[in-house]
């Protein structure tokens, strides 16, 4: 073969060999020892908050800020606040480099240096976070708010974000159904409060209307809920920013319920029962058009959008028992995702998009849990006589749900309260509400 004798061929062949040798060179070089660490001991980050500098803030306001920040971060489970009495130096100004050794002795991993001041009609805070072990500043941020509580929650959000990498969820609100007795009648009202139970107020007060399934829009400015009367059911929209202005959505005849907003807030998805068969529909808030997504003899209900709006999770008993399914936003590619024993209900897609929270009923007991979107890695987070109605925190790390105790003898209703649990199931805590609480929904405060 003449081309084999060509000088170009030999030259290029040697070039190829050189390249191959270069490729293999790293393999022949000195191997560096590598050790894998795949176990650890979880320990919350210990945060130290020395005295707060203030200008235009009263001592009471500064103490309120401290108390709220400590409560927010302390209840998150990921951050512990170090007792101020254990600090050698309790004062730390914003531009001062801390004496890391003394904070280390106190057991601190991080230090918060905080300066509260007033400016241009708003309350302001400048914060600086230091890493004690790495001995360097981690973040410096300026925040402002109209109220002390909001400012404190924003400070907590900022610290939480910087130390865990996750967006904070402290400046947020919970919408829920409050239940109380008014004479002999049950009185169900829509209520809203800060995530920690503060600023509680009622949004509805109709005596003969039962309210169900309240849901925030993604921006938290509006909400929808189901109103049941003796004669009909309707889905109502409340404009929270303008103060309880209600609109009844024209969704036609039949029982309508389980409504949620789409992620962009332009439409809602809901279940409608026609002649005893429940199907899933969408309704455009701008054009008023309805669209039927499921056509099935089985009961299809509890729809919830994925955070990108591309998919919908819902419950259907088409396999014989209520199980969780997913489909595209136009109703195609229906897939069953839960295959475990028991009946599943109230699937809710996580804001992160990686998990679906659900309620499971098995052998007469209820449980709230999470699973991956393909149904794998199912994990029960809380179990009880009746635990139900999970809703994600806006950052997708914590779930809020309600837990109802059995009705005691001689009483008309059993106690029902709101609980939060994080996705690991480690940190469970209760929320204070004035009356029984059901069906919570969580959103950032606007």
């Amino acid at each position: 073969m003449p081309y084999l004798k060509s000088p170009f061929f030999l030259l290029r062949l040697s070039l190829l060999a050189f390249c191959a040798a270069l490729l293999l060179l790293p393999l022949a070089s000195h191997a560096q020892l590598r050790i894998d660490i795949h176990q650890g001991t979880f320990r919350p980050i210990r945060l130290s908050i020395p005295d707060i500098e203030r200008e235009g803030f009263s001592l009471g306001q500064a103490n309120s800020v401290r108390k709220i920040v400590e409560s927010d971060l302390g209840t998150s489970g990921l951050i512990n606040i170090i007792d101020r009495d254990s600090l050698l130096y309790s004062k730390l100004s914003l531009d001062m480099v801390p004496d890391f050794a003394s904070f280390r002795i106190a057991g601190a991993d991080a230090i918060l240096s905080l300066y509260l001041h007033k400016g241009k009609g708003a309350l302001r805070a400048t914060l600086q976070i230091w890493d004690v072990r790495l001995q360097r500043p981690l973040a410096r941020e300026d925040l402002d708010a109209r109220s002390v509580r909001t400012l404190a929650h924003k400070i907590s959000d900022s610290i939480y974000h910087r130390l865990t990498g996750e967006r904070g969820y402290f400046n947020s609100r919970i919408l829920y159904v409050s239940e109380s007795l008014r004479g002999k009648r049950l009185w169900k009202r829509l209520a809203i409060m800060d995530y920690d139970g503060a600023n509680h107020r009622f949004l509805t007060n109709q005596r003969r209307t039962i309210v169900l399934n309240p849901r925030f829009s993604s921006d938290g400015k509006t909400a929808i809920y189901t109103a049941l009367t003796k004669k009909s059911s309707s889905i109502r929209l409340i404009d929270l920013s303008r103060g309880k202005r209600e609109t009844v959505l024209p969704l036609g005849a039949g029982l309508v319920y389980a409504a949620r907003f789409s992620p962009n807030g332009k439409s809602i998805i809901y279940a409608q029962s026609l002649s005893g068969n429940s199907e899933i529909f969408t309704y455009s808030l701008s054009s008023g058009k309805r669209r039927r997504l499921t056509i099935n003899r089985a009961i299809d209900t509890s729809p919830s959008f994925s955070p990108d709006g591309g998919y919908i999770s819902f419950v259907s008993d088409r396999s014989g028992k209520p199980q969780i399914y997913t489909m595209t936003r136009r109703g195609g590619n229906v897939q069953r995702v839960s295959f475990s024993a028991g009946s599943f209900s109230t699937p809710v897609w996580s804001p992160r998009g990686d998990k679906i929270a659900f309620t499971r009923q098995l052998y007469g007991r209820f449980a709230v849990g999470v699973m991956d979107i393909d149904g794998s890695n199912m994990r029960i987070l809380s179990e009880g006589f009746r635990v139900e109605g999970p809703s994600w925190s806006p950052n997708g790390r914590v779930l809020v749900f309600f837990k109802k105790d059995p009705t005691p003898k001689g009483k008309r209703i059993g106690r029902s309260r709101l609980l939060t649990v994080d996705v690991t199931g480690r940190f469970l805590r209760g929320l204070n509400t004035p009356h029984n609480a059901y069906d919570p929904n969580w959103s950032y405060a606007n």
Partner: protein, 302 residues
């Protein structure tokens, strides 16, 4: 579709004249070759193989015998033995030491081995093994009275010629290699690592157990598979961290979850409970530069 012959033929033509399909197939062929070469290399060499450690010389048995015979023909003063030193010979000893410094590293190495082998306790034991019936006292006498070098060399010969290989003492070959590697750092012949030059399973387990207590992994964070942090450590001889570097540092600025995971790993190393690291100090060369991989995936069963 270009055939293989066409591809080889195209090597002799300028790049501009090749067709696109030839270039694509040629590129694929190059990648395939590179992949095969990589796979073969990875399969052939053991995981902890270090190809060219400096200062190690291979000595065959024949070379060893030659060196031993050369050694035997040398004057007795060349090798000194601590236990057999008469007190009055101190001046002579100093002169010998000066001589030794001038000698070649290999000779010095041999002396070192001889001095190792001829430590009083070992010499006594060897004699006892050789003459089983001798009493300890007579053995002491024999070591004191006879020429220790001759005894040692005899015992060494016996050891090297014996085939049982079950002695609990380190073999002469190993000692020689060890000494030569210490004394002749310029030797460039390749040598595989002995088992003593890798971290044993128990050493690794002890190290990990030590670190586990100090590492607080990122719990509840999304996509744990993306939160594996590699740290490049430089350690001093006492296993204190001199320098530490996050290998994928650029990701810290764009991924807050990764940044938190990396900072958590860095805090682990600065934890006083985990400093210094629990590593075998005798194997410093092995862990002077180490990559620590903090991997939370198995922790949460992913």
């Amino acid at each position: 579709m270009a055939s293989l012959t066409d591809i080889f033929r195209s090597l002799s033509r300028p790049i501009g004249t090749r067709s696109l399909s030839e270039l694509v197939v040629f590129s694929a062929l190059c990648h395939l070759l590179a992949f095969l070469a990589t796979s073969l290399t990875a399969w052939f060499f053991p995981r902890d193989f270090i190809p060219f450690p400096a200062g190690v010389e291979i000595v065959t048995e024949q070379q060893l015998q030659q060196r031993l015979s050369q050694h035997r023909t040398r004057p007795k003063e060349e090798v000194t033995l601590e236990s057999a030193k008469p007190k009055e010979d101190k001046e002579k000893e100093e002169k010998e030491e000066k001589k030794e410094i001038k000698e070649s590293p290999k000779k010095t190495a041999l002396k070192k081995i001889a001095s190792k082998k001829a430590s009083p306790k070992k010499a006594i034991r060897k004699t006892t093994v050789k003459t089983n019936k001798k009493s300890p006292k007579s053995a002491d006498k024999s070591t004191d009275s006879s020429d220790p070098i001759e005894d040692i060399l005899a015992s060494l010969e016996e050891e090297t010629s014996s085939d049982d290989g079950q002695s609990s003492e380190p073999s002469f070959d190993a000692s020689l290699e060890e000494a030569l590697s210490e004394e002749s750092p310029d030797s460039s012949e390749p040598q595989f690592l002995s088992s003593e030059q890798i971290l044993t399973a128990s050493e690794l387990a002890a190290f990990r157990k030590h670190i586990f207590a100090c590492w607080s992994p990122p719990i509840g964070a999304p996509s744990l598979e993306n939160l594996v942090v590699d740290l490049d450590l430089t350690l001093d001889e006492n296993a204190y961290v001199i320098e530490v570097r996050v290998i994928d540092r650029s990701r810290m600025s764009r991924d807050p979850f990764f940044r938190s995971a990396a900072e958590s790993a860095l805090r682990t190393l600065s934890d006083s409970a985990c400093s210094p690291l629990k590593l075998p100090l005798g194997k410093y060369a092995l862990w002077e530069r180490t990559i620590l991989r903090f991997d939370p995936r198995r922790l949460f069963g992913l």
